[in-house]
């Protein structure tokens, strides 16, 4: 949906859900795929795991960033709906009468925005150790 800056349309639930879950899911993919790359790639005797991990980090961080951008756009829509509800006129939806419409969307969008920041930061943080620690062959503590 490409709403204009002054649109008072309420974003649909699926976009909100995508914004909310996009960044944590990107992190889950980064963690599990990274762990698997280290475990399987190395045990198979292949080289180049560093490059694979680097690409993985870039892709997942990009996904987290995209969900944060989506969240920001949804937040702006919520804010516009909030302003529109404050104006006199016929309310557009049931909960605008209860003073809730924009606030509810803005709340979820801000939540998604913060999630994007936190999990994006974590993905970048997780991408750092492979730059400085040997990946293959597997090291042992013994």
């Amino acid at each position: 949906m490409s709403a204009s800056p002054h649109s008072t349309a309420i974003p649909d639930g699926r976009r909100l859900l995508l914004a909310l879950l996009g960044s944590p899911l990107a992190w889950v993919v980064h963690l599990l795929a990274g762990y698997l790359v280290i475990a399987l790639w190395c045990s198979s005797g292949w080289s180049g795991a560093e490059a694979v991990l680097g690409i993985l980090t870039l892709m997942c961080a990009g996904a987290a960033l995209a969900s944060a951008i989506l969240a920001f756009r949804l937040w702006r829509q919520g804010q516009h709906a909030l302003l529109a509800d404050a104006e006199p006129g016929v309310p557009e939806s049931w909960d605008s009468r209860m003073g809730e419409r924009g606030a509810r969307v803005a709340f979820l969008a801000v939540l998604a925005l913060f999630m994007g920041g936190l999990f994006g930061f974590l993905i970048v943080l997780q991408g750092i150790p492979p730059l400085y620690t040997p990946i293959c062959p597997l090291t042992s503590t013994s």
């Binding site: 909100l16 280290i38 475990a39 809730e100 913060f114 943080l125 997780q126």
Partner: protein
């Protein structure tokens, strides 16, 4: 079966007498039993801890022998982790969630009762082992191979494993209840951004329980199969791997820490804002912290496995998560401090307990960041430093908040006030005692004292630390006893609390203390995040949305002949439908007895116990799913049968249906029903279980490169035919959902039959494939992995067959009854899962080893 009641009060009355006691399913009496039982386990676990401290008070002490000491620490950890903290917090939630949400009960009252009874019997089951001298002795984490049959031949760990399984069922049931209850059953107007913090906390916690406890259920099933020497998941002699157990256990175990902490975040947020006389600072950030912690907690399990030889680069991943999880925890702590700082705090006992919790949890959090650092953990692993850290986290994150909550909500539960003076003394003793007990352990750990040792030699410099810890433990116990005395005195003195003794902001304070059976006789209308502070009235007023007004009026002292409450939209709190709630039932109790008999049979390998257990279970399930009289009344009164299915809320924007006496449809037989949402939660459980089995299969490293001689994958032919059946099932299931959506009751039966045939074909053909393979799970880790993946699909397919048969029965005997449509719709969800899961099995077990 008794006739349906005639008045609103009679409808919500609790059953009387002994049978009535067993048949009660109301959230409040069940929650009170839950609390009393779990607090009893807390005291038992505390006594075990004191015995350990007596033993360790002096070097080379002989108070208990090494074997008894093993039993003490195993049962102490098991009790506190599984039988106290989580059940106690769930009990709190059982009591409070409907009150906070402004609704009359939880969505599945019979599940509430089942959870309690299975929990009670599971706890008794584990504790009964003391009477036979067979108390579990292999640690609350049951590491392998220490706990396999060869190294732990007695029944001790079988008691642990099987008893725990019973308790896990209870936790999963309670979690499903909470998720659907919090998302769907709230007061009109309570949109997602107006949810009370405890509801947010329990929502996140319950979702975590679904994923974490399911992994544990699978792990303990694997463990028991290994101990029965039927499989070799963890046996390295046969290609299994003991570290697989650690992975599965800690995928559960680390989130478990946060499962115990997050409800406390909710509790303390309520207390801090009430006694600071202002709203919580940054509600949005506090919710963010809850949700983010929920996710992050699943990326921390390797923290417990730093010294198992995992690659340094991989350890870096998990160390990063360990550092970042401090951010949401920090948000919580600073949020509370800022709220107190900006408010006008009233220093009453609940707030003081919360402050103590913040201090202790912060110390535990700091040492948590220390042990999350890989080099430090290499030194501190398995020392008393870790014992100190985990107790600071658990006392600060759970025990002190639980006491804060008891002091805060005891007036609501009992209608009586507690003594402030005794409360402060109790807090003082607990705070000093706790720090005295666990503070010195940091130093004894850094001095090198290992965990789980029954004694230590003289002259290592550990004597003073240990003596201080013992003195502290007894001081802590004295503080707990003072609170118990406080409860007793309060109940005798009859100091009336009134409905709102603290000036709280949330809806529970609008009800009497204790609440009457039919809480919220009038459904409140919510227009604020703090309705008791911001709203002049909880009744509908001019300017409210007409739908809200209509819903509130429809439920004002009604329905009279059946238990009904409101179903609302997940995010917007918009009134959608009415939910029928069962009134009383003996079947949850009977079913839990059946479960216990089956688990006892598993413990003793006794078919003569298994048979009655199976009969009792089947009878109870039959009784459970037998149509309820009150639901028939509800269907008649709301005209649900006449209007057929597929009449979604969107098609009735005015919220009314001709013939409904309430202006709202009944949530039955379509996607608005609680049963449909509950089935959705079931799918999450099934998906997690399947993923755990598949992860285990791959972890054993046997998929692509079979290690054991003769580990050939099962034959492909039958599996391909089963896949044809799975694809057919997807088509027939889609048809089944369409018949329900379009209200074509006549063709529903055929769709059900075809889906049933397809599912039975999946079961039969995959079983034939397994039988045609030369695989011995008892002697092969690979075969165990295959059996796990396939066996789970069989379990799902057979369970689904029972659901489809029930749907067929409905379609044949009462084709126009919406309950039958509901069964078919729920079965269709599981059918989609079963079919897709089989296709995943095909790739995992059959194609992967052949391609790679």
């Amino acid at each position: 079966m008794s006739s349906p009641p005639r008045t609103f009060t009679e409808t919500w009355d609790q059953p009387k007498g002994f049978i009535g006691f067993l048949a009660t399913i109301d959230n409040i009496p069940i929650a009170v039993r839950y609390m009393v039982t779990s607090f009893g386990f807390f005291l038992a676990g505390g006594i075990l801890a004191l015995m350990m401290r007596v033993q360790l008070a002096r070097p080379e002490n002989g108070f208990v022998d090494p074997h008894t000491y093993n039993q003490l620490f195993t049962m102490h950890g098991t009790t506190m982790m599984f039988l106290f903290i989580v059940p106690f917090l769930e009990a709190f939630a059982n009591y409070l969630i409907p009150l906070l949400n402004g609704t009359r009960d939880l969505p599945f009252p019979r599940l509430t009762a089942l959870s309690y009874w299975t929990y009670l019997f599971g706890g008794i089951f584990i504790y009964s082992s003391w009477f036979f001298g067979l108390a579990p002795d292999g640690g609350w984490f049951a590491y392998m191979p220490l706990n396999d049959k060869q190294h732990s031949p007695g029944l001790n760990m079988d008691f642990w494993d099987i008893g725990l399984s019973v308790a896990e069922v209870a936790a999963l049931g309670a979690a499903a209840e909470m998720i659907v209850g919090i998302l769907r059953m709230r007061a009109p107007g309570m949109s997602i951004n107006r949810l009370p913090m405890f509801c947010w906390a329990m929502l996140v916690t319950s979702v975590m329980i679904i994923f974490a406890f399911t992994a544990l259920v699978v792990g303990t099933a694997m463990l028991e199969l290994d101990r029965k020497e039927l499989t070799s998941f963890f046996n390295p002699d046969h290609g299994g791997d003991p570290l697989l157990w650690q992975h599965i256990f800690w995928v559960f175990g680390h989130p478990e820490v946060y499962i115990m902490f997050l409800p406390a975040v909710g509790i303390m947020s309520h207390i801090v804002q009430t006694f600071s006389r202002r709203p919580l600072m940054s509600y949005t950030l506090m919710v963010l912290a809850l949700v983010a912690t929920g996710f992050l907690s699943f990326g921390l399990w390797v923290h417990h496995m730093y010294v198992t030889g995992i690659s340094a680069a991989a350890l870096g991943f998990f160390a990063a998560v360990g550092a970042v999880v401090a951010i949401p925890s920090g948000i919580n702590v600073f949020g509370w401090i800022a709220t107190i700082w900006a408010g006008k705090p009233v220093w009453r006992t609940p707030l003081l307990f919360s402050l103590a919790a913040i201090i202790i949890f912060t110390i535990g959090g700091v040492t948590g960041v220390m042990v999350a650092a890989v080099p430090f953990d290499f030194q501190a692993h398995d020392t008393y430093f870790v014992v100190a850290h985990l107790h600071y986290v658990l006392f600060g994150g759970s025990i002190f908040p639980v006491f804060a909550a008891l002091y805060f909500w005891f007036p609501k539960f009992s209608g009586r006030m507690l003594s402030e003076r005794l409360g402060c003394w109790s807090l003082g003793l607990m705070f000093v005692g706790f720090n005295l007990a666990f503070g010195p352990m940091h130093w004894s750990g850094l001095e090198g004292m290992p965990r789980r040792v029954y004694t230590y030699p003289t002259g290592l410099g550990l004597e003073d630390y240990n003596l201080l810890s013992t003195v502290g433990a007894f001081t802590l116990a004295l503080g707990v006893i003072l609170t118990l005395i406080n409860f007793g005195l309060s109940l005798r003195r009859r100091s009336e609390a009134g409905s709102d003794p603290w000036g709280g902001d949330s809806l529970e304070w609008s009800e009497t203390s204790p609440p009457v059976n039919a809480q919220f006789n009038s459904i409140p209308v919510v227009r604020s995040r703090h309705p008791m502070w911001d709203q002049i009235t909880l009744k509908p007023v001019e300017g409210d949305d007409p739908e809200v007004v209509r819903a509130a009026r429809a439920l004002d002292g009604r329905p009279e002949r059946w238990r009904g409450s409101l179903v609302v939209g997940v995010t917007d709190g918009r009134p959608l439908a009415l939910a029928h709630l069962p009134r009383r039932s003996i079947w949850p109790f009977v079913l839990s007895v059946g479960f216990v008999l089956l688990f006892l049979a598993a413990l003793l390998d006794n078919v003569w116990i298994a048979l009655p257990g199976l009969v009792v279970t089947l009878v109870a399930l039959g009784g459970w799913f037998w149509p309820l009289d009150t639901e028939s009344v509800a269907i008649r009164e709301t005209g649900a049968e006449r209007h057929g299915a597929g009449a979604s809320r969107a098609e009735h924007p005015s919220g009314s249906r001709d013939g409904s006496a309430f202006g709202l449809p009944l949530a039955v037989g379509d996607r608005s029903s609680n049963g449909y949402w509950g089935t959705g939660v079931l799918l999450a459980i099934l998906g997690t279980a399947s993923a755990t089995f598949i992860a285990g299969y791959f972890y054993l490293g046997q998929g692509p490169t079979p290690l054991s001689p003769g580990s050939e994958p099962p034959p492909l032919g039958p599996a391909l035919w089963a896949s044809v059946a799975a694809l057919s099932s997807l088509v027939t299931t889609r048809w089944l959902t369409r018949t329900v959506d379009q209200g074509r009751d006549g063709t529903r039966r055929l769709a059900l039959v075809l889906t049933l045939v397809a599912q039975l074909a999946i079961f039969g053909l995959s079983l034939a494939s397994w039988l045609g393979a030369d695989l011995e799970p008892a002697r092969s880790g690979y075969a165990s992995g295959v059996l796990g993946v396939l066996g789970f699909e069989w379990f799902v397919a057979l369970g689904l067959a029972v659901m489809l048969l029930a749907g067929l029965l409905w379609a044949s005997l009462a084709p126009h009854d919406p309950r039958g449509r509901g069964v078919a719709l729920n079965a269709s969800l599981v059918s989609y899962f079963s079919s897709v899961n089989w296709l995943v099995c095909l790739v995992t077990v059959y194609l992967w080893p052949r391609v790679l």
